[in-house]
Symmetry: C2
Subunit: 421 residues, 2 copies
């Protein structure tokens, strides 16, 4: 462990992390579950996930961290502070999508590690302990719900419910945690603040040529399963007027979802991502279509109005096309508003370091969204290539990743310096 000395808080401004070391760590981690196409397949609580956890724990221990594992498998690594304060948290997740990339999640964890390493490099002792947290099962690809570890931490789900969840092979979360040695018994620490760096997973920063997104919050989400029932019939002999074409109804709903999103303010999004047709035969009018609707908005009230508009559209389409249309709401996340003081800290850190920056709203959910229910939280976005994520070709520039880590370090130090004594 590097020796720790006290330095004047005033001189800490403008400190830089070691971007090369950060990149090397990211690339080393990405070898665990690496895919031939350059991505990563490291599903939660698999042996590969266990391997990645052990590697990062070793690195964190090298920074003098104490390691605690809680009952849902979240890893809490703590670098001691000089005062008896709650830690300042950093972190993200190590699990990936089935065809995931090298940066989603991994960046937030290793940026936190790099901050600790940089504090050591500069012999800085902080008042607060500084934490890196690795949250269990953010992606939700193997076990639902998504953001399981941070959700348990925030009280969004019970531990018992999550431990009992099963994957497609019938393996439970509890058993999977045991199998990789991460069924912990430690209490999860409270945090004074939480900063989560992440690639944007969207195209805005890259399109605008901006390096740092100071994330103000996350869009609320309301997800629906829609089932459209008509009557399958032979495509040749059935005149247009006598049809009850479920796919035609689906097409009208898809267009309506887009139109509703376009007509509503507050960063409205509307997406139909999944659709299946029955019987799905070239010369049979489809009798049944199942599709999903994903609505997002920065304001809960606007989100509700979008849902009302969807219900009205579906009722009108059902009547005009003689279809039955059922909507079932399957997910609701209210909009998240990060702590304004922390968002300002991130923004000021970027400005002090001379990085272009803007405020941005996360379109996706992140562990920070759950942590924000319990403690002040904020996020730092950096651009990713083409806005593409959840994909093996996910990519980010080393200098952007380094810049985000510098901002993280700057914000952590600013919080440590300025937080109410």
């Amino acid at each position: 462990m590097t020796s720790i000395v006290s330095i004047d808080p005033q001189t800490r401004e403008g400190l830089r992390c070691n971007g090369t070391r950060l990149w090397d760590s990211l690339m080393t981690l990405a070898r665990i579950g690496a895919t031939p196409a350059g991505g990563v397949r490291r599903l939660t609580l698999t042996e590969l996930d266990g391997e990645s956890r052990r590697l990062v724990i070793d690195w964190l221990r090298d920074c003098g961290c104490g390691i605690r594992i809680d009952a849902i498998g979240n890893i809490h690594a703590t670098r001691p502070g000089t005062e008896d304060l709650d830690p300042i948290g950093m972190g993200s997740h190590l699990d990936t999508q089935p065809n995931g990339g090298r940066f989603d999640g991994a960046y937030g964890v290793l940026a936190g590690l790099e901050v600790l390493r940089s504090l050591d490099d500069h012999g800085i002792r902080t008042r607060h302990p500084v934490n890196v947290t690795i949250w269990t099962n953010e992606e939700g690809s193997r076990f639902t719900p998504v953001m399981m570890g941070s959700g348990v931490y925030a009280g969004a789900f019970t531990l018992e419910h999550c431990l009992a969840q099963r994957d497609r092979e019938g393996r439970s979360v509890g058993d999977a945690l045991d199998a990789i040695g991460f069924a912990g018994r430690d209490a999860a620490p409270a945090l004074a603040a939480y900063f989560e760096p992440h690639i944007e997973q969207g195209p805005i920063l890259e399109a605008e040529g901006i390096t740092i997104g100071a994330v103000e919050g996350a869009l609320g989400q309301r997800w629906f399963d829609v089932l459209i029932t008509g009557q399958d019939a032979h495509a040749g002999p059935t005149p247009l007027a006598m049809r009850r074409d479920a796919l035609l109804g689906a097409a009208r709903i898809i267009a309506a979802v887009r139109r509703i999103a376009e007509e509503h303010p507050d960063e409205a999004r509307g997406t139909v991502g999944e659709l299946s047709v029955t019987p799905n035969s070239r010369n049979v009018i489809p009798g049944r279509v199942a599709l999903t609707v994903d609505f997002r908005n920065a304001r809960d009230e606007t989100l509700s109005r979008m849902v009302d508009a969807l219900r009205a559209e579906c009722a009108a389409i059902a009547a005009s096309d003689r279809l039955e249309i059922g909507l079932e709401e399957v997910v609701y996340f209210p909009p998240c508003h990060f702590d304004p003081a922390l968002v300002t800290l991130v923004e000021q850190a970027a400005a002090r370091l001379g990085h272009s920056h803007r405020r941005i709203t996360s379109g996706a959910g992140h562990d920070a969204v759950y942590v924000a229910r319990r403690h002040p939280a904020a996020m730092i976005f950096v651009p990713c290539e083409g806005g593409i994520s959840h994909n093996e070709i996910e990519n980010a520039q080393p200098e952007h990743l380094a810049a985000g880590t510098d901002v993280l370090l700057e914000a952590v130090l600013a919080f440590d310096r300025d937080a109410a004594r």
Copy 2:
């Protein structure tokens, strides 16, 4: 064999078949491949198909028919006539869809059988020989192309091409014919005329309360595979204006297909029956959609205009939504016009027997459509319940099936009496 006597042609009018016997034969045949839900699964050239062929051949032999099997497995059963003329043909197919019904195809074959039995009952000898033909693989569910046996008969495909076609297990048509003992070596006879009774497979006759459809022809068909390529992206972080949503493009195409059909005359139909989404994940904007388009029309020129309109719509959608849209034509059947004299014979037969009737165009393809390329042909439609076919719940009324068979008998006798001597 029942004894055959000559009777006065004038007295033949108004003869009736034995509807009960017809129904009993249909129900006996339907036991071969019967499904628990009341349908029939008797895929072409399977052991069950062989069993049904042997049963019906036995019945045809009992009517004094000679049996010939041609090289594609079509069965030609001939009841002798009194003059050296080409036979009058009747028939259809015995194979079914994977989840088929009791009447599609089977009705045409057994109506032909019932005509022969009724001729025997009444001791009628005809000038022309009278044939029942069982065409191989009308459905195309196991081997493509559809309407294979009649297509080979009409010269639409070569025998060699069809014998070499393989099912999903890699079994060839030639091997499958051998396995069930129907790889024949007989020449297929020319026909003086061909009448094919069939359930409508559509809702028009039932909706209008009409018993007999005198089928004037069949709609032309042009089928397309459409591939829409956009960019898959995370549904949350990607603003609407930056999306390249392949499913939204697909929805616009589905609506356009319907609109094009509505805006064109000549019994236009437009159907998107099959659609698949990639990656098909609830919170991912779809990057790729494959769908099919099935256009039908009674006039070839109008069909071409529909296709032109589709190409223009796709080009406009590709430009406005920043998508790539590829169209590939996979099937083209020109519109079929049945022999006007035979259609009139059917119509007059229905009128003489006191059955309600109307002219109708077949929306679907049938063996008669290929036979019509070689010989004068026509079809007789009877109503089916709800217009539903290619479905285990396919149903038809015994009195309608009997009426169609009576019309067939009447038309065959009229042709036999009136055809140029």
